[in-house]
Symmetry: C2
Subunit: 411 residues, 2 copies
């Protein structure tokens, strides 16, 4: 396997120097070929589905695994979308001249080799490969073993297009070892791999972050809060809370806990109960909330739980400090919102809450690379370093200093 990574590293040096027009052309050809060979992809996917059924994998997992004509078309279109992105490589982010005439330019360059570890969805294979390629990086992919046949066909198609364009096929590689020990090995290869991005369940992300020698950018859980301050416009508050909870409950930027100022609890809680129940949301409240509305009591565990479902915990707080304390203790630093018409309180919330995205009077559901205008999204980073929040291909680059002299030496 080390030989494979060596080849990926070598390929990365070639991919790093490609011009935008070449990368766009290759990505469009990949998209066309995926469409052309849709039957072969769907055929391979059937094998994976059979295996999944034989092994009694869950319905949800089987749905994530499934490729049909529509989904294959989406894969192709995702590559076409990536081909339209602005090439981040070569952007001069800063530049200046120092006193002795040396000209210093800080220039964006690809990171090198990116390892992406993911689970069932086979479309991640082409998405991840495309994002890495457009940003000038080689990638080593480690998919789920349940998607083995689908991934193999997709990778073959992508590599065929590289070869046809006289580019090193190893720039898009799949780790042959699909097991957990494959992951364990990959995350130790800091000689060849420059960045690991794990996408998947909490257990995978925890394992990778705790054991990797390669830097990791995590896409971890989102335990998002909406805090309804006493000076909130309660109509806005209901709209925002409902949207944050029910518009798509299964994603990381959905709200899990609603914080409500005690001063307005009597007015607001019955309203929100009615609306949430219309939307079939199960409510669990703190002791004080239970004084105002008749719902299930929340336990300590509820405040820690990312339901990813139509369940909401509700806590009554005394004031802003109390709300921020709760968010600090239980939040995941992803997205948190306040609803208030009070300028100073809004400012304080924005400044003091240490999350990737902090909102005033808007739904947490906007934390998304597409919404932010980054185009195709690598994910939403819960790291604090390098990339935080929605992550576009810009974040798949690093920089170097190019320094131009005419004989300068240091005195």
């Amino acid at each position: 396997m080390e030989e494979i990574l060596k080849n990926v590293k070598e390929a990365s040096r070639v991919i790093a120097t490609l011009n935008g027009e070449v990368k766009r052309k290759v990505l469009r050809e990949m998209a066309n070929r995926i469409e052309k060979y849709k039957d072969e992809i769907i055929e391979a996917n059937k094998k994976d589905l059979e295996y999944a059924k034989e092994n009694n994998l869950s319905e949800a997992l089987i749905d994530r695994l499934l490729l049909n004509e529509d989904r294959v078309k989406s894969m192709a279109n995702a590559l076409r979308d990536i081909a339209k992105l602005k090439d981040p490589v070569g952007k001069v982010i800063d530049g200046w001249k120092i006193d002795n005439g040396l000209s210093i330019n800080k220039v964006k360059i690809p990171i090198g080799v990116i390892g992406i570890i993911y689970e069932s969805r086979p479309n991640v294979t082409s998405d991840a490969a495309g994002l890495c390629f457009m940003s000038g990086n080689a990638c080593i992919l480690k998919g789920g073993k349940e998607a083995f046949h689908s991934n193999a066909v997709i990778i073959e198609i992508l590599r065929y297009v590289l070869e046809k364009n006289k580019l090193p096929v190893d720039a898009i590689s799949m780790l042959p070892d699909y097991s957990r020990s494959g992951v364990e090995w990959l995350i130790k290869q800091d000689k060849y791999v420059d960045l690991i991005i794990p996408r998947g369940g909490e257990a995978l992300i925890k394992f990778v972050s705790e054991n990797s020698k390669v830097p990791v950018i995590k896409h971890d859980k989102g335990l998002c809060h909406v805090y309804v301050h006493k000076d909130a416009d309660l109509e806005k508050a209901v709209k925002i809370a409902i949207n944050a909870k029910v518009q798509r409950p299964g994603v990381c930027n959905a709200m899990e806990t609603l914080l409500v100022d005690r001063e307005i609890a009597g007015e607001f809680l019955p309203k929100i109960k009615e609306e949430m129940e219309k939307n079939e949301v199960e409510l669990r409240g703190c002791e004080i909330a239970l004084e105002y509305i008749d719902i299930k009591p929340a336990t300590e565990e509820d405040w820690h739980t990312e339901y990813l479902d139509k369940v909401l915990s509700i806590k009554v707080v005394d004031n802003l400090d109390d709300a921020i304390e709760h968010i600090e203790k239980y939040g995941s630093g992803h997205s948190d919102a306040i609803v208030t018409e009070n300028y100073s309180v809004a400012e304080e919330f924005l400044n003091r809450v240490d999350s990737a995205c902090v909102y005033v009077n808007a739904s947490t559901r906007f934390t998304d690379g597409g919404v932010f205008g980054f185009g195709a999204e690598v994910g939403i980073s819960t790291n604090k370093l390098h990339a935080r929040g929605p992550m576009g291909i810009d974040d798949l680059t690093t920089y170097k200093y190019k320094i131009l002299g005419n004989g300068q030496i240091r005195e």
Copy 2:
């Protein structure tokens, strides 16, 4: 010890929101107090020096440990310099409005709690604390046990000034366990520590990078090259090579290996030999170099060695490709230079060499936060992510998105 980190984390939330003028005032008071208590510092330092002598520590180490009146004054002045830096916190690095009217602002904020692990020099204690404080971060310092008494007095002075200004003293904390197991414990505390910066020998850095659960920014070795291309101005080449090797051989941006094109080896090597020997540099050459000049033969190990001394390995290469291949194989991605008058070759070198700083016609010795204009320097990062190359206090920040709405929900 966990209690200590909890307090540091809590203090970090207060420090993060301080305005620039407060931070500057506190830093200047710290500088004054260090000068005022110089005798106490020097007295404590004597205890450390005695212990060092009793334990037969090396002369070099004892010199690094030593504090005299001049050095204490330098420590105070370093804090005054830090107080003059531009406050990075609050800078809006990007901002835009999306179609539904949401206004998105990407704003620099402190990282949180920074752990700095270092060895003998006691001045690092005040430098590191000052840099973290000015960038709004709390710090947990882990100094060398040989500097225990000096560090204790310095920390006490800094914390006194925090207290006097009604700021949480735990924002500048020292880990009480000075042993290796203290390091081992600290680098696992990802719940409280957001970034670890190890400063010291290769063994320390390797241990920290391989075992840390907290993200690490390394300041690793510099195995820097100067490549004299056949179209070089040989006078410039001699001047640059001499400067890169001898102006200060013991630092990471000094040259360790000189690469010379075969076409000019006959003319250049005797010249450089003469100049290097005038400067008492020991030369070790590849087989081909030995055909032109009478020096010691280099072994494979030489190409891997950061001498940090007046020793230089010399290799004759066939061309640019050959030179880049050598740099890729043996370099450390720190600083590498080409000397050439050829435009296309210079461009290719700049683009293809994957180092933090790539030079044309200048000495590698310029890789330095001070030279680059960053003011006081955190170090020179050999990481590829977050911060690369000379690192100023700007790199001790991350960012968050502040998103201002008026009731927007996602459709």
